[in-house]
């Protein structure tokens, strides 16, 4: 790529160079040919060196004076011509070089070059994110710099400028380019050994599918995380052997199902996504009749969840575009609309879900429904992230932002793989199991615990790794001791242990640890800090394991 820059410069500088050479040559030749006069009035012929020296400083407007002797009038006449001649040539040359710096083609080549270098210099594993928008930004915010770096490809130059203004640290290399072009993917480093994967969450399934196909051909080893919004698409991706297909509507449908049938499993899942570990009243899915307003992709997904949960519901047909065209408004609630709400028996229902594709319509549907039935529980789809404040202010029980769900799911898959596993395992259990777990977590780790993932290896548990490789037998409960007083317990819970392909949900405390085990630990910051000290510091570890200071 360096080559290209040099060629662009050379090509552009051709004319300025020619102009400078020709003007210099003519001026020099003139000075040599015109007879001069030396200090004593004798005739004197300027040599080429004298002339070259004089013209060089004349043309660059430095002007040291007439050399080697004061000029006579013939020479001065020539020089006054040559000044205009060479100075114009010189300025043209300089101007051409300056304008070259602003040249579009050169700037593109330069930015491409710096992007390439930035990507090459990344030595951590990195993900290529295609498209920069609200979803991908929230992924970058959380993922960048932790264990992974991010590279962004985006079609729109303005969005790239936006990204640069965000000042991500560490820097997120970004480049303007069409993500479906394999050349661009290569530039973004898809061939690199440390490329961990590619994230493609475009709204258009066709684009995602194209990217998935190209990426798989280019590099078989990387993770391909794609969005799919329909069943056929999911099937298609599965047939391509892609494991990480994210269907936001499927996630919503499952959440509704678990929210109704097993609220504690739902809570555990939501907690993994950043919800507090407490079932608030407004979070509870009421029992009774549901109304789904809008039968788009979200509406259908919700319907599926409700049907599976065995809940009574009605679904109302609603075409946002036609509605706006017909009534020329985005405010829902004229007489006809009210009549349709009445017909849906709002007064006899417990929950209304506004799932149309227009935020304002969703809000007004909820408002109208509340007028008719003040006790009704409300859920709404929010389409654009900008309107979040209005939605929060309007006291809707549940807000579904498809984009955010997608971003969270992607982030958890990449950065919190054990949490993902835990959710899958927990779904196989029943609600009482989940309730017991939640109570236990509350008792041991407080009202609002967080979770951590760690691995028994050199980087994460230095001391423990050393002890284990010496052949020491260390169990999970051995480590659950305070480093201030080993008789006391550390407030942590082992939620899940992953050993190779095997998964132990709520592992037994007497289970001996092995190298390479991955642990999902629930705790607060302070206790987890202590745990990290214990597994990393050999003295802390020996104290906790009960070695006396003398032995």
């Amino acid at each position: 790529m360096n080559e290209q820059i040099i060629w662009i410069i050379l090509k552009r500088l051709r004319t300025p160079f020619l102009v400078i050479i020709v003007t210099f040559a003519i001026s020099i030749l003139g000075l040599v040919l015109i007879p001069g006069t030396d200090g004593n009035g004798n005739p004197y012929q300027m040599t080429f060196f004298d002339a070259f020296y004089f013209v060089t400083y004349m043309a660059s407007t430095i002007g040291f004076g007439e050399a080697p002797y004061t000029f006579n009038y013939e020479q001065r006449m020539w020089v006054s011509f040559a000044i205009y001649f060479t100075v114009i040539g010189w300025f043209y040359g300089i101007g051409a070089i300056v304008s070259l710096i602003q040249d579009d083609a050169l700037r593109k080549a330069l930015s491409r070059n710096s992007f390439l270098n930035q990507v090459k210099r990344i030595n951590q594993p990195f993900y290529i994110i295609l498209g920069y928008n609200g979803i991908t930004k929230s992924i970058i915010d959380r993922l960048n710099g932790k264990d992974y770096r991010i590279v962004v490809l985006e079609k729109d130059e303005e969005k790239i400028d936006e990204l640069i203004l965000e000042n991500f640290y560490p820097n997120v290399p970004a480049f303007v380019g069409d993500a479906t072009n394999q050349k661009m993917l290569k530039i973004a480093g898809i061939h690199q050994k440390n490329c961990a994967g590619i994230i493609s969450l475009f709204g258009d399934d066709m684009v995602n599918s194209k990217i998935a196909t190209i990426s798989q051909l280019l590099n078989k080893k990387i993770d391909i995380i794609v969005k799919a919004t329909s069943k056929q698409q999911v099937e298609h991706f599965k047939s391509m052997n892609l494991k990480h297909v994210k269907n936001p509507f499927d996630i919503i449908s499952k959440r509704i199902y678990y929210g109704i049938t097993a609220p504690h499993i739902w809570l555990l899942e939501m907690w993994m996504y950043g919800h507090v570990l407490k079932l608030k009243n407004r979070d509870k899915f009421p029992k009774g009749r549901y109304i789904i307003y809008g039968n788009g992709r979200l509406g259908t997904a919700i319907e599926e969840g409700l049907k599976k949960a065995g809940v009574e519901y009605v679904i109302q047909d609603f075409d946002t575009k036609k509605y706006i065209k017909r009534k020329n408004t985005t405010i829902f609630g004229d007489e006809e609309d009210m009549a349709s709400l009445e017909k849906l028996q709002v007064k006899e229902s417990v929950c209304i879900i506004a799932a149309t594709q227009n935020d304002l319509i969703n809000l007004t549907i909820i408002n109208r429904a509340k007028q008719l039935n003040p006790d009704i529980s409300t859920m709404a789809r929010e389409n654009s992230l900008d309107d979040l404040n209005i939605f929060q202010a309007s006291k809707i029980n549940k807000i579904y932002v498809v984009e955010r769900i997608l971003a969270d799911a992607t982030y958890n898959y990449i950065a919190r793989p054990l949490a993902d596993l835990f959710i899958m395992e927990a779904r196989k259990k029943d609600d009482t199991w989940a309730e017991v777990i939640i109570n236990m977590l509350h008792n041991i780790t407080g009202k609002n615990p967080t979770y951590f993932e760690t691995k028994i290896d050199d980087a994460h548990a230095y001391a423990l790794t050393r002890k284990l490789s010496e052949g020491e037998q260390i169990t999970l409960s051995n480590l659950r001791r305070s480093r201030e007083n080993r008789e006391e317990l550390l407030h942590i819970v082992y939620l899940l242990l992953k050993r190779g392909e095997e998964i132990y949900l709520m592992p037994n405390g007497s289970m001996p640890l092995q190298l390479g085990d991955e642990l999902l630990i629930v705790s607060d910051e302070e206790n987890y800090d202590d745990f990290e000290y214990i597994v990393n510091n050999i003295y802390e570890l020996e104290y906790v394991l009960g070695f006396s200071a003398n032995s």
């Binding site: 060629w7 050379l10 090509k11 500088l13 051709r14 160079f17 020619l18 050479i21 020709v22 040559a25 020099i28 030749l29 040599v32 040599t47 080429f48 060196f49």
Partner: protein, 126 residues
């Protein structure tokens, strides 16, 4: 036939011929080698070099390389001349031979360049 080809071709050949004009003659006698001709050779060679800029083909790169060699040789020749004249203040036989033989080297480079140029022309199908 295109104008750019005619102009650049004539400069490539002119660079060689002017260079030969300066080189031709007894190398020990500087009177036989005109300083004007050396000046012309340098200017024409520089122009030829610039005309070869920006050609991305393999041949273009080799042509540019030969031209740069000729430039270096000719400028070295002029530098030796100026040095002998103003610093040593005596252009003896040794300096004269150096000046002429440096331009001889440039001539070789120019001949290579012209041969490549002609070869390319013959090879072209039109």
């Amino acid at each position: 036939m295109n104008m750019h080809k005619i102009i650049s071709g004539s400069f490539f050949i002119l660079a060689m011929t002017v260079n030969f004009g300066f080189f031709y003659g007894d190398p020990t006698i500087l009177i036989e080698h005109s300083s004007y001709e050396l000046f012309a050779a340098i200017v024409v060679n520089l122009i030829a070099t610039v005309l070869k800029l920006g050609d991305r083909t393999q041949l273009g790169a080799v042509l540019l390389a030969t031209s740069i060699v000729a430039d270096i040789q000719l400028i070295a020749s002029a530098t030796v001349w100026a040095f002998a004249e103003y610093i040593v203040k005596d252009v003896g036989t040794e300096a004269a031979t150096a000046i002429v033989s440096l331009s001889g080297g440039a001539l070789l480079a120019n001949i290579v360049s012209v041969i490549l140029f002609i070869a390319d022309t013959i090879k072209s199908k039109r």
